[in-house]
Amino acid sequence: MSAGQEKPGGLVQVQSTALAKGGANSLAVRGLNHLRDKELAEEWLRKGLELQTTMPAGVRPELQTTLEYIKQISTGTKPDVAAENLRMTPEDQERARVAHHFMPDTLNECAQLEEARNNQLLEVFLCFERGIQLDPHHPLLQHNIGTAYYFGRGVKQDYSQAYIWFRKAAEQGNANAQYCLGTLYSDGEGVDRDEVEAAAWLHKAAEQGNTDAQVGLGLAYKTGSGVPQDYAQGAMWLRRAGEKEDFGDPTAD
């Protein structure tokens, strides 16, 4: 390697140009880091999406769209196709892109996924709180806050608080909350156990078509808990639940 000192850039003597230039190399390193952050963000967002699917329905639909968009493009769908699939407006798309891009910053603070999960839940809970301040009588928000307290998502688990919020939403006619409230009464969580109250709330929810409540009410009639025992009524509610969902009705025959 000493023979070609006078002649730069040779096949034989001179080392590769790609390794020699510090500046260009450091730009390549930045690019690689950028891509790695992006991959991590995508990974994290995929996890976030999984988490989101376990959330009560209707929570922050725009976040759901953002996550779904990012999931699609990170699995190889072209951005315009993903936007088309999700019927996103250009603003939606831009928001999703920005969220995607700046996720690494958030990510760096979340040393572990568990922490990231908690942060996500906390963020969602804070959104509920902000929402309820703006609209204290919003039944869906009341229901969602109840759910957060019940499962301890983004806030310390507290059945009494869950009862308070489910009750508010249930009184306004939210079927899901009525079902949840009925469950609290029948399990004695956050409120004294009361089969009659439980059955009454399940009834309200069941009449609104809540499948879970129809099942619960059907079983209540069959066992006579909170209502007079009535096999016909029990069978009727279970059948109605089965009409909507593929619920195997054990009393059908």
């Binding site: 096949l11 001179v14 190399n25 730009l27 390549a28 891509l35 891009h101």
Partner: protein, 258 residues
């Protein structure tokens, strides 16, 4: 059958024939490896050029805005610490600028035609330094090989042909035809080629582990899935530039009316 002739050779002649065969095999392998190394280098250089032109210049621009922001902040704060941060940011911006606009960014796309590949192979095969018969010959071959390599990178077929011509017209191309074949010389050539093969392996490994090669393979892998990573990066960095520019404007607007 050549074997019948071999039987009539003396042990020294047989040894020489074996070594000649060994040398021929090594020479063929050497040319193969030299070519794949040259291709790898040229591909990397071309990709690096493209990366610097498309993404690198945006990083340089981003660094420039960040340096401007830091300089502004240093002026406002007036502390030694802020001044140090500003000059560091400026140095970073200068380095990025030099890299993004330097020689490396001018590399053209590398997609040699099969004819050009074949021509380069022929040229290298004939002028490779490790085939030299003498030290004078070796020096000439070394120079011409270096030129051939550059010509191949430029995808310049005419230059390659001229290089081959130049070698053929030189007195060194006439091999000193010592009637008795020199076993010593062949052994030396074998040793040189083996050494060169090892060097090539080291360099290929280094090149393949380089940051730019990792980036290139990432881009290639995702391109197969229909993604354009370079375009995505461009958009991302542009977004950060826009943010930095806005920050700089806000900063200067806030500070101006004293």
């Amino acid at each position: 059958m050549p074997t019948e002739i071999v039987h009539n050779l003396s042990p020294e002649e047989q040894e020489l024939a074996r070594k000649r065969q060994e040398l021929a095999i090594l020479q063929a392998e050497l040319i193969d490896r030299e070519l794949s190394l040259a291709n790898l280098r040229a591909e990397l250089a071309a990709f690096e050029g493209r990366y610097l032109r498309e993404v690198g210049i945006l990083y340089a621009e981003l660094d420039d805005w960040n340096a401007k922001i830091a300089e502004f902040a240093a002026e406002a704060a007036g502390t030694e610490q802020a001044r140090a941060a500003a000059s560091e940011a400026r140095a970073q911006a200068d380095e990025s600028y030099a890299a993004a606009h330097g020689e490396a960014s001018k590399a053209e796309d590398f997609s040699p035609s099969p004819e050009l590949r074949k021509l380069f192979r022929d040229v290298v095969n004939q002028i490779h330094p490790d085939r030299a018969a003498s030290e004078v010959d070796r020096a000439l071959r070394t120079r011409l090989t270096a030129e051939a390599n550059l010509a191949y990178k430029r995808q310049d077929a005419d230059a390659l042909r001229k290089i081959l011509e130049e070698y053929k017209n030189s007195p060194e191309s006439v091999k000193g035809d010592g009637a008795a074949a020199d076993l010593q010389r062949i052994l030396l050539q074998i040793r040189r080629i083996s050494k060169r093969l090892a060097e090539i392996e080291v360099e290929v490994a280094e090149l393949k582990a380089s940051e730019i090669a990792l980036l290139m393979s990432k881009v290639a892998i995702t391109a197969a899935k229909g993604r354009n990573l370079l375009a995505e990066m461009k958009k991302d960095v542009q977004q950060r530039i826009d943010l930095a520019r806005t920050e700089y404007k806000d900063q200067s607007a806030r500070t101006r009316p004293r």
